[in-house]
């Protein structure tokens, strides 16, 4: 049990499970089945791909997280094929779009970004209890050493929204900040890169909210930050 809890990915799964359990009674049966289906679909697909193409048998905890995030953020009133398409897209993007053997995009975010391009509403139902998110999130940031990412994001996000006359604390998504932005594999390591990564996401969030509000500001900004990440890796290492 202690070994299980020592893996931060399992803690993320526990947090997502708790957030889901809090929201499910409010939203009803369809939401519950929607999320469970998303999680199952992502996990099974990831297991199959790993087994068939990479000859590996890995417990799909990353895919479970992706499944929770996709189905918990996508509007559950959509037809079932929408969930199937975007869950599949997330897992495929993880295995296909890579740079130096690491995937470039946060898989769940890549899929949600595609959904926002198609004007599919993102209702963020999984963000059901911000206190849990912040408490667990601070622990994740500490374990993954991602405080610089958070600092970079908050500096620009808070500053720009404040200047434009909107209280940033009323518009920020803590779920995005503590669960999605600091995803370990696609957000880069070390302090400087982390700060720049977070800053790109913070600035992009503000600009998208201000000028292109029909696109979800958070998933779009993380997509852009992910896109810049290989360049950050290349040039900051080179320098």
């Amino acid at each position: 049990m202690i070994k299980f809890l020592k893996d931060s990915k399992n803690l993320v799964i526990i947090l997502l499970g708790l957030l889901f359990a809090i929201k499910a009674p409010q939203e009803g049966f369809r939401f519950a089945i929607w999320v469970i289906s998303g999680v199952l679909l992502c996990s099974i697909l990831d297991l199959l791909i790993n087994n068939r193409f990479f000859k590996k048998a890995i417990f799909p905890n990353s895919a479970i997280i992706s499944g929770f995030i996709i189905s918990g953020i996508l509007d559950y009133r959509q037809p079932w094929f929408i969930l199937a398409i975007f869950s599949t897209l997330a897992i495929l993007s993880k295995h296909i779009i890579s740079f130096k053997h690491k995937h470039i995009f946060n898989p769940a975010n890549f899929s949600l970004f595609t959904a926002t391009l198609f004007k599919i509403p993102l209702t963020w139902n999984i963000e059901s209890n911000i206190f849990l998110i912040i408490i667990f999130g601070l622990y994740f940031a500490y374990t993954y050493r991602k405080f610089s990412h958070i600092l970079g994001f908050l500096s620009f996000f808070m500053g720009l929204f404040f200047i434009s006359g909107i209280n940033p604390l009323r518009i920020i998504s803590w779920f995005f900040l503590f669960i999605m932005l600091i995803e370990p594999k696609t957000s880069g390591y070390d302090r400087l890169k982390g700060f720049i990564f977070g800053s790109i996401a913070g600035i992009a969030s503000f600009l998208i909210f201000r000028f292109m509000p029909r696109y979800d500001m958070f998933v779009s900004s993380l997509f852009l930050a992910n896109l810049f990440n290989p360049a950050l890796e290349k040039y900051l290492y080179a320098s």
């Binding site: 779009i97 004007k119 963020w124 963000e127 909107i166 009323r170």
Partner: protein, 173 residues
């Protein structure tokens, strides 16, 4: 190989992203057209054109064809009584009035404003998905042809209560 596959995947997504996903029916495109154009013809409930208009009691009504203008002139009240104009406000985290109650067969003109930040107004069953910023008033027009209770949800992230920002549209028989 992976780079080629990645490029194909991204370009396919981007090339199809202009397609406006609605409810799988025609209504979404209609609503988007109506937003920019002349509304819905009160006679045939088709998208109206600015080519065909008629001023009645100081108000201009637009139609889809010349025949509808003539039909309207015969008994304007019959058609005007079916037009419901409702001013609606989106705010963190709800809609006012809530619920919005109309009758089946009404032409609903929703004039939506935002009290605070940018919000989205999404009614899946009627294929409506619009964004409304603080400074603007968005006009949505649709023909209430389906009876029932429908969720109105916010489709633009607007803060920690975004997921619970809901309203109801009730279309009575």
């Amino acid at each position: 190989m992976k780079i080629i596959l990645s490029l194909i995947l991204v370009s396919v997504i981007l090339s199809y992203s202009d397609y406006s996903y609605g409810d799988g029916d025609h209504m979404h495109k209609e609503v988007m057209q109506v937003e920019q154009n002349a509304g819905i013809c009160p006679v045939l409930h088709e998208p109206a054109s600015k080519e065909y208009s008629y001023v009645y009691e100081g108000k201009t009504y637009y139609f889809c064809c010349a025949m509808c203008v003539e039909e309207f002139k015969k008994d304007p009240q019959k058609y005007i009584s079916k037009i419901k104009e409702i001013k609606s406000e989106a705010y963190q985290f709800g809609f006012s009035p809530d619920p919005v109650v109309v009758k089946k067969g009404d032409i609903v003109k929703l004039v939506i404003t935002s009290r605070d930040v940018t919000h989205g107004v999404y009614i899946k069953e009627y294929g409506i998905n619009v964004t409304v910023t603080k400074q603007e008033a968005k006009k949505i027009e649709f023909f209430a042809d389906k009876a029932g209770k429908f969720d109105i949800v916010c489709s633009v992230y607007c803060g920690k209560g975004h997921s619970s920002m809901k309203g109801k549209l009730i279309v009575e028989e």
